[in-house]
């Protein structure tokens, strides 16, 4: 198929800009018309056209449960490994989020202050939070803010209401869970010794930059 003949959706550029940064397009995202972009990608015709279009750039659109992302074809294992390293920080975060009284799951809405409050009231959570290496470490609230900001930057969360500082967990968060679940740690975990099983069907998306 000739690219000129594809009649690409007019949001193609926007889609590329998001996905090429290693971000996700989630169905429950509302900022910057993300749900609209998801709808466009969900349309089988659009999907096919965009897939063909991006394949020229050696990108492959991966369709997962309610979210899309890019994977690179023929990526060298060293890069995959590097990508995996970036997951190290997420493991502790996901662990922390999963240990809260009300677990953070897809669609959950929370304010960093709520989580910080819970962490300061719970020794176990406090320890988990302290384990996460962060730049700003003055207090729990700032730490959680930093975590939320980082996840939002990576399009796993969305700052839904700036006034109330309410974050929403996007569908892409399940990508984190799936990848972390697929990681098998051998022995006592030295910082970077983790790998994914060879038969894993998870395509690593995180940009190692």
């Amino acid at each position: 198929m000739n690219i000129e003949e594809l009649e690409l959706p007019r949001q193609t550029h926007e889609i590329f800009n998001i996905l090429a940064r290693g971000h996700f397009i989630s169905s429950n995202g509302t900022k910057d018309g993300m749900n609209r972009l998801y709808e466009i990608l969900s349309d089988p015709q659009n999907y096919e056209k965009l897939q063909s279009y991006f394949s020229v750039l050696k990108y492959k659109i991966e369709k997962a449960n309610n979210y899309f992302y890019f994977s690179k074809t023929n990526e060298p294992p060293s890069i995959t490994e590097k990508k995996l390293e970036t997951f190290e920080k997420y493991i502790d975060i996901v662990d922390l989020f999963g240990s809260l009284d009300n677990k953070i799951t897809i669609g959950s809405r929370f304010r960093p202050s709520e989580i910080a409050e819970e962490c300061s009231a719970n020794v176990r959570l406090k320890q988990k939070l302290n384990k996460i290496p962060l730049y700003r470490s003055e207090n729990f609230l700032n730490k959680i803010r930093e975590i939320a900001g980082m996840l939002a930057r990576d399009s796993f969360l969305e700052l839904e209401d700036e006034q109330t500082e309410t974050y929403k967990v996007l569908d892409a968060y399940s990508y984190l869970l799936e990848v972390i679940n697929a990681i098998t740690i051998f022995g006592q975990p030295p910082a970077s010794e983790h790998s994914i099983p060879s038969n894993s069907d998870i395509d690593i998306n995180i940009n190692p930059n």
Partner: protein
């Protein structure tokens, strides 16, 4: 009297800072005065005459309102005098709470308003003055609208319809608007946009504008609602709802089961607590009772055994007596006691016979008595000796007999003793065996009865019966629920059908109404077209000719003319000499005819009426539409709610059925468990009993055999001893016989010797007697008889002892045998009875004991179970979060016995809690994911906080369920569709309304263009031409609105079922998507453009091309500068005048009554005299009189007919006075 109508003068009495002024306006007028002297205020007062709108006079909001600034006193008046073809009239404006008007049919005179002291009168006094002078004045006109209607000649009231300035048509409002706009815009630069605004505002109202903020708000609402609904309708969302609902049910079931278990646990714990002491006491009581029963039984047994012993002794005694009697009887029988007794009975007879014989003998021997005595003595001696020998031997025999008898007796006694011992032994053995047998038989009976009881009495019968009852109840409940479900489902179907029918009916009704309205509108439009056609052609038709040339033709000639003839334009009417109201020379009585022709005003009115009718019909259509929507919403609300309620009930019923079925299943399993447990227990207990029975029966058989053997052995032993004893007795008897025989032989020999001796003596005696003559024969016979009797007596005496013994025995023993037997029988019976009693008592005792022991065991089991349970609870549950979770339920439960034990309940709680937590986590996950699909402030209220509790999640799920059951999404869709329809309709209607006026704009612009062409600029050569043209609007928002309107016109209303049609193939879906996209674009455009409203001026672009001297602007929107400022003012003024002229022309009816209006342009000071002259001439040629303001005298004022100067007095009042200047004729 004037040849035209015009505002002739304005008189201000106590208005603002002016105490009194009278200004003539019947020609170009100029006000000269410095700033803030009241020039503009005066111009506003003039403008008010035309606009009668105190709010569009250009008074800023920071200034006092017109009413308050101008009319400060009760006697403040503005008076407008209007000249007419006949006599002038004036209008008085004063404040009576609000501004009011009165038309006075008279020329203005100060006398009406002032008293002799030159003080202004109050309005009542003024009216009184007018009354005095018999001058007609109108009622108080208190609305601006009515005032304008009168002034612009559209008033139908005959009393007032003469007070007009001009005859306006339905667009007459454009005249005051235009005059106002000129006044208000005169300071602005020339911009086509301004002209556009001018034209647009002249022909449209503020209310015609489309307020974008409102549309944007509506669009935002729609977009948000649409987004919410779309999110809801998505397949994934629906799937999530299904999952969440399913999980919710599971969580609910688990929660209920946990609560139930917690309640049971609480109840059982409390029960165990309350029962502990009770059970211990009961146990002690049972123990005591058991002891008591044992003691009672032992006592009874002891007494019975003691009695038994007595009875046995008695039986033995009587038995011994009977045996003794029988033995003696046997002995006596052997001695032939009967014969002996018979002989003994003859003893006395024999003794009497002996006495008789002895007396006879004595008598016979009395003679030989001595001899007799002698011999007798010898014989007696021999006899005695015989007796003695006999006795001696008898004694010896008796002794031997006695001795042997004794020996035999001893032997027999010994034998009896042995026999008795053996029998005793046998009896003891038999008694023990019998006892054992008896015992076993009791046991057997007991086990048999237990077997019977066990086979008849089902274990756990209570539980099984309770479960069976519960299952029956559940089944009944399921059955009832299912029938109820069927009824409810039928009801839902019926309601849905009813709803659909009503919807159909409503739609049909609406379509009918809509068709009827549309056809009416079409009809009216046609009629309006006809009227328009007539009005457009009337000038060149016979009608126009008649209007111009024949006064009151409607009353004469018009009566016989057909309307078609009147509007024919090819009739070439010519005014010939009057022929006294004849028609081709024929005169008819016209009074008999009705006036059929209509005046222009009537046509205008008719047209206005029809337009109003169309408006009304359109409103009616909208109302119908709204009504339809409302009714649909009402129906959706009514039926939706009903259906939702029923559906909720159905859900509840379904849930109840599901629960009941689950419960039934559970109960059935429990029942089966109980039954199998019972069967197992029955089997176990029966097996045990049966085994026991078999063992006992075997034991009984052994005992019987043992008894038999013992009896046989005993019998043999007895027989052996008897035989041995018999032998010994026989031997003793033989010895006895031998000894007796020896003695008998001895006796026989001795007696024989003695007998021989006796015979010798007797022979000697007889010889002596014979010798003495005694009858020896006789004596010998007697002696023989005596001897025989004596022998017999001797023999009888021999048996004397036996007989006496016998008689004694008979008296003591034999006669008592029946009594002994009876006694023995009685004792045996009694013994039997007490044995039976003992047996029964033993049986009873054993049963009671076993029952109590069973009860005790049960209590002990229960107690141990309670203790174990409490221990388990304390160690395994009390400290867990599960307990904390259910603590209130457990702690507040009422003590109640239950089939479950505490350990089981604790285990169930712990086990289920982890399952519950798993399910709850999943449930939470689904709810979070579902809520996350929606906006934070979605209109469904689907929002869950991070720190939401279980109750919050539960509430969320319940709300979601209610939402689905009540089909609120349908209501939301209907509302959203209605909102979309409303937005689109309102956009379409407004755009249509505005677009409808576009034609007018086109018309006006073409008129303007024409008027510009007509302008005689050539004379001064100052302005070569002013060209104007209209172009398509490039307003993005308008374009989108237009697109929406076109779409609406093309496709009509389709949202009711198409907005969220899930069928992507449906053509309506594509249309929906198109329109939704358009609405979306519109919203974005509104947000981007930041435009407040879409007015008529946004519908088109206006461009000018002005050539002044050598300068040509080219086609442009804005003309910044054509030449000098003066030129700019001139061009602007020319354009304004043209506009005013065109609008007046367009908005008034052409009649034979001429009029002039004023064009008020302030600040024309910078215009050159030459240009001013040109301008005034330009205005004059268009029947427009100029009113201008000048800051100071500069010579320009000389071009005006009237010039007024303004001066501030010391008391800060303003005096307006005419300047004496000769007008230079324009």
């Amino acid at each position: 009297m004037s040849n035209h109508r015009i505002l002739n003068r304005i008189v201000l009495i106590n208005i603002a800072n002016v105490k009194y002024t009278d200004i003539e306006l019947n020609g170009n007028t100029c006000f000269v005065g410095a700033n803030n002297y009241g020039k503009t205020s005066l111009q506003r007062a003039i403008l008010f005459f035309y606009s009668a709108n105190s709010r569009s006079l250009g008074i800023s909001s920071s200034q006092k309102p017109f009413e308050e600034h101008y009319f400060r006193f009760d006697n403040s008046y503005i008076l407008y005098e209007v000249t007419t073809e006949t006599s002038p009239f004036f209008i008085m404006v004063y404040r009576h709470n609000k501004l009011v008007f009165r038309f006075v049919d008279s020329e203005y005179s100060p006398d009406f308003f002032f008293n002799e002291n030159n003080e202004a009168l109050k309005f009542r006094e003024v009216l009184a003055n007018l009354d005095k002078k018999n001058i007609f004045y109108s009622n108080q006109i208190d609305t601006f609208e009515k005032y304008r209607n009168i002034l612009y000649g559209t008033e139908t009231d005959l009393k007032l319809n003469k007070f007009f300035l001009l005859r306006g048509n339905e667009k007459y409002q454009n005249i005051p608007k235009s005059i106002t706009n000129v006044f208000l815009s005169s300071k602005n630069s020339i911009d086509s946009r301004f002209i556009k605004d001018f034209i647009a505002s002249a022909i449209s109202n503020d209310s015609d504008a489309i307020i974008l903020e409102k549309i944007e708000r509506q669009l935002r609402q729609f977009s948000e609602k649409y987004q919410d609904i779309e999110s809801f309708l998505k397949k994934e969302t629906q799937q999530l709802i299904e999952f969440a609902e399913h999980k919710y049910d599971q969580v609910q079931i688990l929660k209920n089961s946990q609560i139930e278990a917690a309640e049971k646990l609480g109840a059982t714990l409390k029960y165990a607590d309350t029962q502990h002491n009770i059970l211990l006491n009961t146990l002690q009581e049972k123990e005591k009772h058991l002891q008591q029963i044992k003691e009672d039984y032992e006592a009874l047994r002891y007494s019975i055994e003691e009695r038994q012993k007595d009875l046995r002794e008695q039986i033995g005694f009587y038995d011994g007596m009977i045996r003794e009697a029988q033995r003696k009887l046997e002995i006596y029988k052997e001695k032939d006691i009967d014969t002996l007794l018979n002989k003994y009975q003859e003893k006395q007879k024999l003794e009497s016979q002996l006495q008789v014989l002895q007396k006879e003998y004595e008598t016979l021997t009395s003679d030989v008595q001595n001899i007799e005595v002698q011999y007798q003595s010898l014989l007696n001696n021999i006899q005695n000796e015989i007796h003695s020998v006999t006795n001696k031997i008898n004694a010896q025999i008796t002794e031997i007999i006695n001795h042997y008898n004794e020996l035999i007796l001893l032997q027999k006694e010994e034998q009896a003793k042995r026999e008795s011992t053996l029998k005793q032994q046998l009896q003891t053995t038999l008694f023990s065996i019998n006892n054992e047998v008896h015992q076993k038989q009791i046991e057997l009976g007991q086990f048999k009865s237990e077997e019977k009881i066990s086979s008849n009495i089902q274990p756990y019968e209570k539980e099984i019966k309770q479960l069976e009852l519960e299952i029956t109840e559940i089944k009944t409940k399921i059955y009832t629920s299912k029938s109820e479900l069927a009824i409810q489902q039928n009801q839902v179907e019926t309601l849905q059908k009813e709803w659909q029918n009503i919807e159909k009916q409503l739609q049909q009704k609406f379509e009918l109404a809509s068709q009827s309205i549309q056809s009416k509108i079409e009809q009216l439009k046609k009629e309006i077209l006809l009227i328009d056609k007539k009005l457009n052609i009337q000038e060149n038709a016979l009608y126009g000719f008649l209007e111009k040339n024949i006064p009151n033709w409607h009353l004469t000639f018009g009566k016989i003319l057909d309307e078609n003839i009147l509007f024919k334009n090819d009739l070439n009417p010519q005014l010939m000499s009057s022929s006294n109201n004849t028609i081709f020379g024929i005169q008819i009585d016209l009074n008999q005819l009705q006036i059929v022709s209509k005046s222009i005003e009537q046509y205008q009115t008719e047209k206005i009426q029809k337009l109003n009718e169309i408006k009304n019909l359109e409103n009616q259509f909208l109302q119908e539409q709204q009504k339809l929507q409302n009714e649909k919403l009402l129906n959706a609300d009514k039926y939706g709610k009903q259906i939702a309620e029923i559906k909720e009930d159905i859900k509840v019923i379904l849930y109840a059925i599901e629960l009941a079925e689950k419960k039934e299943k559970k109960r059935l399993i429990e029942l089966e468990e109980w039954k199998s447990k019972a069967a197992k227990e029955t089997d176990t207990s029966l097996q045990f009993i049966r085994e026991k029975i078999v063992i006992i029966e075997e034991e009984l058989a052994i005992l019987k055999k043992r008894k038999q053997i013992t009896e046989t052995e005993n019998e043999t032993q007895i027989q052996n001893t008897i035989a041995k004893s018999q032998q010994q007795i026989q031997h003793l008897k033989q010895q006895q016989q031998q000894e007796i025989e020896q003695l008998e032989v001895q006796r026989k020999n001795t007696i024989k010797e003695l007998k021989e001796k006796e015979e010798k003596l007797l022979a000697e005696k007889q010889n002596i007697f014979q010798n003495k003559g005694v009858d020896n024969k006789k004596i010998s016979e007697i002696q023989k008889q005596i001897s025989s009797i004596q022998q017999q007596l001797q023999e009888i005496n021999q048996y004397q002892n036996i007989i006496s013994d016998y008689l004694k025995d008979k008296r003591d023993l034999f006669d008592n045998i029946p009594i002994y037997k009876q006694k023995k029988e009685e004792y045996i019976t009694e013994n039997k009875n007490i044995l039976q009693q003992l047996e029964e008592e033993t049986k009873k005792y054993k049963l009671t004991i076993s029952e109590i022991q069973k009860q005790r065991k049960e209590i002990e089991d229960t107690l141990s179970q309670f203790n174990q349970g409490i221990f388990f609870f304390q160690n395994n549950l009390k400290e867990t979060p599960v307990y904390k979770h259910y603590a209130p339920i457990i702690e507040n439960a009422e003590p109640k016995p239950s089939n479950y034990n505490i350990t089981d309940l604790c285990t169930q709680l712990l086990k289920n809690e982890s399952y519950f937590n798993e399910e709850y986590t999943q449930f939470q996950r689904y709810i979070n994911e579902f809520a996350g699909k929606f906006r934070l402030d979605n209109h469904f209220g689907f929002f869950i906080k991070h720190d939401a509790s279980f109750n919050d999640y539960e509430k969320f799920a319940q709300n979601l369920r209610n939402f689905i059951n009540e089909n609120r999404i349908e209501v939301s869709i209907t509302e959203t569709s209605a909102l979309a329809t409303m937005i689109i309709d309102s956009v379409a209607i407004k755009i249509k309304e505005l677009s409808g006026q576009k034609d007018k704009i086109q018309h006006i612009v073409s008129l303007l263009a024409e008027d510009f062409k007509k302008a005689e600029f050539e004379e001064s050569k100052l302005i070569e031409y002013i060209k104007i043209r209209i172009e398509e609007s490039d307003n993005k928002i308008y374009k989108l609105l237009k697109k929406i309107q076109e779409f609406r016109d093309e496709h009509g209303i389709f949202f009711n079922d198409g907005l969220f049609n899930t069928n992507n193939e449906a053509p309506k879906k594509t249309l929906s998507l198109q329109i939704i996209r358009m609405l979306d674009q519109l919203r974005s455009a509104i947000q981007e453009q930041e435009q407040q409203e879409i007015k008529l001026q946004d519908l088109f672009e206006l461009k000018f091309n002005i050539k002044e001297g050598l300068n040509e602007t080219g086609w442009t929107h804005r003309i910044d500068s054509i030449g000098s400022t003066g030129t700019d003012i001139l061009v602007k003024a020319i354009i304004y005048i043209t506009l005013l002229h065109v609008f007046i022309k367009e908005s008034s009816v052409k009649t034979n009554k001429k009029f002039k209006v004023h064009c008020i342009i302030d600040e024309v000071g910078q215009i050159s005299a030459h240009y001013l002259k040109e301008l005034l001439r330009f205005a004059k040629s268009r029947n427009i009189v100029m009113i201008n303001g000048l800051p100071n005298k500069s010579g320009l004022e000389s071009h005006y007919k009237y010039t007024y100067q303004f001066k501030k007095e010391e008391d800060s009042s303003v005096r307006v006075f005419p300047s004496i200047i000769t007008e230079v004729e324009v």
